[in-house]
Each structure stands twice: as C-alpha cells, then as structure tokens.
Symmetry: none
Subunit: 221 residues, 4 copies
DNA sequence: CATGAATGAGACTTCATTCAT
DNA sequence: TATGAATGAAGTCTCATTCAT
C-alpha cells in the first residue's frame, strides 16, 4: 500500500474528502503550471485549470483569490528551496571539476529539464514583462543562485588548474545557455514537431558538455 | 505666391494620404511585433497596436482581417527572405573557418539580435503551441535553414582540418544555443532588471565564440 | 378560462436557482421571438433580449453560443411538433367540410395568430433570405405540412360533393393567404397605428371564411 | 471659368459624366430598394448599395445624408403618385364589375407585383415598427388609397346588383390578402426554394379571382 | 463632384470572479 | 467545503459617416 505523498496523518487509500482537500492546492498548481507553460498566462482559462485538476471553477477561487495570485503561487512553489539541496551536493563534491560540471549539466536535465518544473523557465521567459515583481523574485531566487553555483564550479576548476577561463562572467553562460535552450526547445517548437525532429536530451547534454569542457580546459603553455 | 496650405515642402513629415496607405501595413507590423514580443499575443490589445502605429482601432482592420491574421503577417514579414543574403555571404567567404564562425555569431547579433526582429524569436517560443501552423512555417523557413547554414560552416571546418567534432548534429546547437539565449535574455528577464544586471552583448558574443572555438578546435593526435 | 401556462405554483416568487436553470432557455426564446419579430434579427441587440428575459448579457451566451444560434432555436422551438396535434384533430373531424374549414381558420387564429408564435411568420418572411437553411427547415416543417393539411380538407370537401374546385393547388392559398395576411398585419403596420385602424380578428376570420366557402361551394349544374 | 454647372439639354446616348450625375440618385434608390427588400434595413451595408449602383461609398452620402434618409427616400420614391394613374383608370372603367375586379388583380400583379416595387411591400412589413413615421406615411399614401380603390369597386358591384357582400370592410381584404401574399411570397421563402416550389403568378391570380368572384357573386334569393 | 482611407461608437462575445445553494 | 449559474467589464470586430485629396 503506497504511502500518501503529502498528508501526513491518517493513511487510508481511497482519496476521501479530507484527503483530497489537503491535496487540492498542489493539484491546482500542477495543472496551472502545465497550462500556463503551454499556452501562456492570458490564453489559459481558469476553468481549464480547474478541470485539469479535477475540481470546479469555484473551488479554484477558494484557494487562490485571483488568477494572478495563482500565477505567483505557481512560480513560488515550483522554485521553493530547490537550490538548497543542489548547493550542498556541490559543496561536498569529490572528484575533478570537469566531471563535476558534466554531472551538474546531467542533473540539471534530470532534475529540472525532464520534469514539469522546466515549464517555469518558459513561463518566466514569456511572462516576465507582464509580472515584473515575479521576474524580480525569480531573478533573486533562481537566476542569481544558479549563476553563483555555476560560477563556483568554474572557479574551482580554475583554482585547481583544470580550467583556463578568460572571461569568467561570460563563461557561466556557456554552461547555462545550452541547458536553457534544451528546456525551452522542449516547450516550444519541438512540441509542434514530429518526434523525429526532436533533440535527444541525453545525447545533447553529453555533446554540449564535451565541447564545453574542451573549450574551458587549461591549455599548457 | 501663396504657399500650399497643408503639405509643406519638407521631405515627408506630414505624410500624404497616398504615402500612408503604402506605409501603414509596415508600421502596424512593426508595432505589433514589438507588443506581441513584449506581452504575448493574448495579452496585447489591438487598440494598443493601432495606437503605437499612430492609427485608430478600425484602421488596423482595414489591413488585417483579424488579430490572428496580423500575428501571422508579423511572423511572415519579419522573416521574409532573411536567409538568402546571409547564405550567399557565407558561400563565398574567404578565410579560415574559426574566423568565419566568429563572424557568423557577430553578424547574427548585429543583424538580428540587436534589431526588433529578435522579438520574433521570443514570440515563436511563447506562442508556437498556440499557432502550430505558424510554428511549422517558422521551423521550415528559419530554424531548418539556420541549422543548415551552421552545419555547413562546421563541415567546412572539419574538411579543412580546423575543427574536430564528435557529434556534428549537436555541435550545431553549441553555436545556436548561446545566440538564442542572448536574444531571449534581452526580451525577458533582462527587460525588467536594472542596466547593471544586463549582459553586454558584444563581450558576450566574443566570449562565447572564444570558448566554442577552443572546444571545436582540432586536437593534434 | 385559460389556465396560466408558465408560473405553475404562483406562490414562489423568488425563483430558486435550480428552477431558473430549467426555465431560462424558454424565457430567452420567448423574449428573442418577441424582439426579433418586432425589429428584425439584425436590429435586435442581444442585450435587449437578455434584459427582457430578466438576465444579463452573459447569461444568454450560457444557453446559446451565438446570436444566430439563438435565432435558429427560436424558429425551431416555436414550431416543434405544432402540427402533430392539429393534424390528428382533423383526421377525426366529424361534420361537414365547410364547417371543418371554418373551424380550421378559427383555430388557426386562436392557436397561432393570437399567440406570440405568430411572430415566427413575420420573422420568416423578413429573414428567410438571410438564413436560407432556416427557411428550408421552415418550408419543410411548417409550410409543406400546413399546405398538406389544407389540401386534405379541400379534397374531403370535393369528395363529399360539398366543394367544386377548379384549381386545387391554388385554392389552398385561398385559405392560407387571408390567415397569413391577418397575422402579418398584426405585426407590422397595425402595430404603429391607432387601435381604431386595426382589423378585428374574429370578425375578419368569419368574413373571410364566409366569402371563401361561398366561392368554393358546389354549384349545382 | 464659369462653365454651365449642370448638363443642359444636350441629348447624347453614351452615358457621359453629366448624364450619369442626373441618374445617380435613381440608381442608388433602385439598388437600395433591392437590397433593403432582400436583407432588411439593418443588415444591408451602405457600401453594398453604393457598389450595386456603381458608385463609391462616399458618393452615396453626397445624395443622402444618412442611411435612414436613404430608406425614407426609397419608400417615398417607390410610391410617388402610383395611385393617381390607377385611380383614374378605374374611374372610367367600362364593363361589368367582376371583370373590373379581375382586371384590377391582374394589373396589380403586372404593374406592382412583377416589378421591383413589390419589394416595398416586404420592406414596409419588415421595417414598419422600426420607422413608425414611414409606416404612417405608407398607411396614408398607399394602404388607405388602395383600400379605397378596392372598396369603390366592390360598392360598384353591389350597386349594380353583381355582388352580394355581407361585410364590405372585410371583403376588401378578400381582394388584398391574396395579392399581398403573392408579392411577399416572391420576396421571402420562395426566394430560397427551387423553381419548382414557386407559385405561378398568372395562374395564381386567375384562380384567386375565380374563387373570389364566385364568393362575392349575388345569390339569387 | 467623386473617392476611399480613416475614424470611433457600438455590437457580439469571452471569461475572471461572485455567491446562492 | 464545493458547485456552477450568473454577472459585467473588457476585448475583438463592424460599419455608418467624415474628409483630405
């Protein structure tokens, strides 16, 4: 019997009223993220979100006062403390930096890119100008920490004599850009194209890492 | 001699009726591209577009039957034959391939990224799922030719012994991803941030090209 | 004494939510018929219809997707199975055919002409060219069965030696024309004139029937 | 140069500018009548009317200040003095009254029903409630004189011992109704049906006259 | 006089939000 | 708490009317 994911106490399988109630906001956020990412904020109807979450329109407004508040909650929840765990992992990473960077890119895909959370990236890209305060929040909570993490890895490589980097600030984007590109690709044109035209994520990540690591490698005098 | 009352001699300031007729569609397309890229299709009101183009709501519908048709025209017009010129330039390029690739990335920024046309990239990313047929058109007219162009440059480098590339198909994205990232950055989060947080495009392009060329360079046995 | 058709249990003035849901479409159709008949389809604003039905604009669209669909529903509902009852009545009519025809004309007025359903006649007359498919439906469901009914009555009279009719097909119109004229008169010029200028329906019907029956009567050799 | 402002007498066949100018209002009225009768006032666009008259939208407003004014002119022009001629003809009619009435019905069809002027009948029927003052005008100028004319014919028949009429006022409608019905039929459902379903006007008129005359005929004690 | 590009009031329709049940 | 019928502000689009050419 599978343990319930969210509600801690009484564990009974059939989703009774009480159980559901606990889960509602999460289901709504999940549905909202998927639809916002697919169609954009303005083009998504709250009724669709409610339907996808299996509740009625009115119920949605029980948990989120307005559609905009739902949007903000989607961003906030999709992000919440995602970096803490990741940061710690890299603080204590054993091994050489090239491998660390390759591992970083792989987990980026596995933990974010391949999950629904990747929709947030597209969402922020599309909507940041319509929600400046959310964009600022995202910048502070995701972009800045993310860049910091990458920068620390690159600095480690330089310090250990593994990397030789002329412009550290820009080199950060050499890691970020291919990963963002991969996530966005999944949510945009690729979604309209036949399978055959899709990028193969794993192969793509390895290839990008390979070129990148070659590009950053220390050149002996 | 009494000077003509209305149309003063000055070249074109108070545009004559006839001239306007010709210019209107272009002005509307320009306004529409800017606003669609900024706020998305659904969140942009046709009245805003008309106002930005300096005409009234009704006038817009004189040239474009519906808002969706305007969207399609925006994409089509922003693209029209942009690759022909570029392709030819590279067919006849003299010089080594690393320089060619660096030049390619520079002109990408100068001719597209730095211009309003870069909005199309964000627009297609945001709206492709809402306009699958436009996405297909964009794929056929922009993405595919663009990838072809890059691939031919990479193949030239390999053929001339300048590049050593394990996965050609993915290496194409090593060129594309940083450029797309730069263009999108300009139209999203960066637009909400203080100047200081912006990427410096020229420095960024040089840095990406440097790392990339190092990464592609032939390694002697 | 006619019992009230609509509000059944007169007591409950503030109609319950559920009851309304059931009644709404009917109320809207009634309001729409009245206004379409009065002003025509194009000149009637949906907001007026909604207001007359005691609801807001948006509510109308909860029940009818478009104004045109509302129009189609008005025609369809005003007609639905109106002939079945009438037909049966005449199948089993006892008595001589002149009386039968006179009764037919009287009930035509009482059951249709004097009711709001008479508006459909004006409506179809005014709008048939704007809604050809509705006109075809009306032809098939109302005009053809109506003519058939009249024709059968006339044939009965001929068969029983009561009538002598040179051109049966056209004689059908000798019955129809005065009745249609009466119904249309009520909805057009008469509506703009002082009471005094109106036709008195009952007297009119009797007079038309009298002249007509005299005109159809068998002339002994 | 003060050229003659209007085109004077000069009579040349090819419709020169001058000639056309004179004809414009008439062509516009003709086009307007046809379209108003077909689609109704509100559903007809002034641009269509102008196009059908072979002029531009702006030109129409040179002759008629508003669409409503055009409507009023259409009604007024289509009617202008149509009864004077007809009245005189019947004042001096030689022959028996049944033939007179039959002739009246025939000419009604030939001079009105079969011409575009028959559209006015449908138009007034459809629009009278939207233009009460036009309806009053029509009542005074057409309906009242028309009924008078018919009444005088019937009275002549009674006076000459040819007719025996119980309700003279209503008997007038026994003449009018079938003729109005025929004209309306042509402009409504019939216009949407295959040829085969149409009424044959000449046969129809003769048949109605025959039944009617039989119905009015004096019955010997 | 004639044109047709431009206007903007007004119509249809959508959809976030409310609230009686 | 959950529902979904009802609302009305707001958006797209139409078209009578104006006016510079």
């Amino acid at each position: 019997m599978p343990a319930p994911s969210r509600p801690p106490a009484s564990e009974d399988s059939p989703p009774r009223r009480g159980r559901r109630k606990q889960a509602r906001p999460g289901e709504l956020l999940e549905a909202a993220l998927a639809l916002f990412a697919e169609k954009g904020f303005a083009a998504t109807r709250v009724e669709e979100i409610a339907a996808r979450a299996g509740v009625s329109k009115g119920t949605l407004f029980l948990y989120f006062p307005t559609k905009e508040d739902l949007f903000r909650a989607v961003v906030r929840e999709s992000i919440a403390g995602r970096f803490d765990e990741w940061n710690q992992e890299f603080e204590t990473f054993q091994g050489d930096t090239p491998e660390m960077l390759r591992y970083c890119m792989r987990s980026w895909w596995e933990r974010l890119g391949a999950t629904p959370a990747s929709g947030i990236t597209k969402l922020m890209l599309s909507e940041s100008q319509n929600f400046p305060e959310v964009a600022a929040y995202y910048q502070a909570e995701v972009i800045a920490p993310g860049k910091d993490l990458i920068r620390r890895i690159l600095e480690r490589g330089v310090a250990r004599g593994e990397f030789q980097i002329a412009d550290l600030e820009c080199a950060v984007y050499s890691v970020i850009a291919p990963m963002i590109f991969l996530m966005l690709n999944k949510h945009s044109v690729a979604a309209c194209l036949p399978e055959s035209a899709h990028i193969e994520p794993l192969r793509y990540v390895e290839a990008q890492a390979t070129v990148l690591l070659q590009g950053l490698r220390r050149r002996d005098s």
